[in-house]
Subunit: 334 residues, 2 copies
């Protein structure tokens, strides 16, 4: 409970003006049906009390806030999709209030439900986990939601995703074309849909290429210890990998940190571009996602959903692009 | 105006239960003064209508939300302070909803005023610009606000800042100790308090050292073209700089990108640490801010302010630390 001074309320204005609360409400909302004399008395009372309408109070009546919620993995990390979402929202006159889910299912639910209770116009969600049943009553109650990067499993919800399968296939084929037969994959926790989709696509590529599969795929939470052992495992043994595909930008960073000077001896294609990709020697070849298209499409879908809750659900897959910078063009070194 | 299905309101519950609106409100807020029989009727109506109290409506009465707003420069960039703020807030059972100000004074005001109208418990603000007069009525109305990284100029508001002057002095002295007489500074837009403070401290160091001052200091918005010309200017002419101090992590990235392979020939000390600092050859020597202390202190101050609006204002300066990694220990090359 805060001890902040109490702001004048609409009730105070009604008392001051000697009119019904609903009359004050009508005036505040520019309802023309209020007589000029009454409206004048209300405006005088508003001025006298320095009453400022509470946006939440107005939203209770109008049901709109001009605000979108974004529940993303981590606010404080580089997030080009969130950046694109913010830009597209701003261009549409909407403000984005974002919160981190830390890829924690409990925290995601807490964040999303809190945004729902605030009656945000809509929510952009980077979903984690399998069970999104908690969204059902909110969707039934009119929540407008668009999932980015990952779909909301089990629910029929608009979503925008990168073409993960094509991206992994492109990366794998690119390394094979540069003479690599033993390509390892180091990826994120497969509880995350995107991570699972990329790892699965990689296993399919490795199997089709006829090499070992399980020994070449290392996935799990992004923790220094785990990445270290994954890199060691990939480069150890009688038949070490001569190339590595990383599952996302954070993993690229961790892998490059582990490799140090050896990063010149192992070919690498990273999933996701990042600012540091062009600061390395050699620079990092990546499968770049079209962040601007993802963010812009997410806002387009969300606005369309808000405008027409009954419209058919869209699932948009955004193409990815291979960007050659050197690390992915290194020949195998045995 | 959205077409979303209408949620049952407290008015519907009152009608269903055949009681006064105020009675429903009392029951929803666990007011013990409501008779058992009445309360039971209300609860039955709530169940029958599947009525879920609107958090904003409750906040109109309770004035608390369990939510903090964070208005920061850019959500989608690495922001260790925001990360620390989120962690400290979560530990205190508070959720952080954040928005980007893009260091745009108009956008900052829009974001902060919107958070105020939502009656967030308090706001963490990375202020931009000189005129924060718009905050006066909000502060008078009981807004709890803590500024991070920069103070709110002209207003008596709690703030947490890094020791920028000591950081610049340390960086400059470190380079001089490694034999550098011509040290250049490439910094951010001096409209930003922190950028101005760091540039001013650098000018003082350069002047005290007896070298040229203006020719060595390059500040302005972080734009590729500007950084390119700043780097060129610093390393050109008859007496080129042999060392560079950068004003923040983003500028370090841009400068290193411009230098390319030459980054091995120019000593560099960057202000702000970052993940890529340890991915370079040589790794980047930095003046590291204590982000955890800044974020944690900001939340402590905000909670103290919320608990006691009348408490004296605190301005906390957090020490910085020089982290030697190689780039700042390179000798001068003429």
């Amino acid at each position: 409970m805060t001890r902040r001074p109490r702001r004048p309320t609409m009730v105070d204005v009604a008392r001051e003006a000697g009119v019904a609360l609903r009359t004050v409400s009508r005036v505040v909302n520019d309802d023309a049906t209020v007589g000029a004399e009454l409206a004048e008395r209300v405006r005088a009372a508003i001025a006298a009390l320095d009453y400022r309408p509470d946006e939440r109070a107005r939203h209770l009546r109008l049901g709109v806030t001009g605000t979108l919620g974004a529940a993303v993995r981590q606010l404080s990390h580089v997030n080009p999709v969130l950046r694109a979402v913010e830009r597209a929202a701003r261009a549409a006159g909407l403000m984005v209030l974002a919160a981190s889910t830390e890829d924690d299912e409990v925290l995601e639910r807490h964040v999303v439900e809190s945004m729902c209770r605030r009656r945000f116009d809509g929510i952009i969600l980077e979903p984690i986990g399998e069970d999104h049943g908690y969204l059902l009553p909110e969707l039934a109650a009119g929540l407008s939601l668009v999932a980015v990067d990952r779909p909301v499993l089990g629910l029929d919800v608009d979503c925008v995703i990168s073409d993960n399968v094509a991206g992994i296939r492109t990366a794998f084929a690119h390394l094979v074309a540069h003479g690599h037969d033993r390509v390892a994959y180091i990826g994120d926790d497969e509880r995350i849909y995107t991570a699972h989709e990329r790892a699965t696509a990689f296993r399919a590529c490795a199997a089709a290429h006829g090499g070992p599969v399980d020994a070449m795929v290392h996935t799990g939470r992004i923790e220094p210890g785990r990445i270290t052992s994954a890199v060691r495992a990939a480069l150890a043994g009688p038949a070490p990998a001569t190339a590595i595909v990383t599952g996302n930008a954070s993993i690229s960073v961790e892998v490059l940190r582990r490799l140090g000077a050896d990063s010149r001896k192992v070919a690498i294609v990273g999933f996701d571009d990042s600012e540091l990709a062009t600061l390395l020697r050699p620079d990092l070849t990546v499968v770049a996602q079209d962040d601007t298209a993802i963010g812009g499409t997410a806002i387009d879908l969300l606005r369309a959903r808000i405008a027409d809750p009954a419209r058919p659900v869209s699932r948009v897959t955004v193409p990815v692009e291979l960007v050659r910078r050197g690390s992915g063009e290194l020949p195998p070194i045995s």
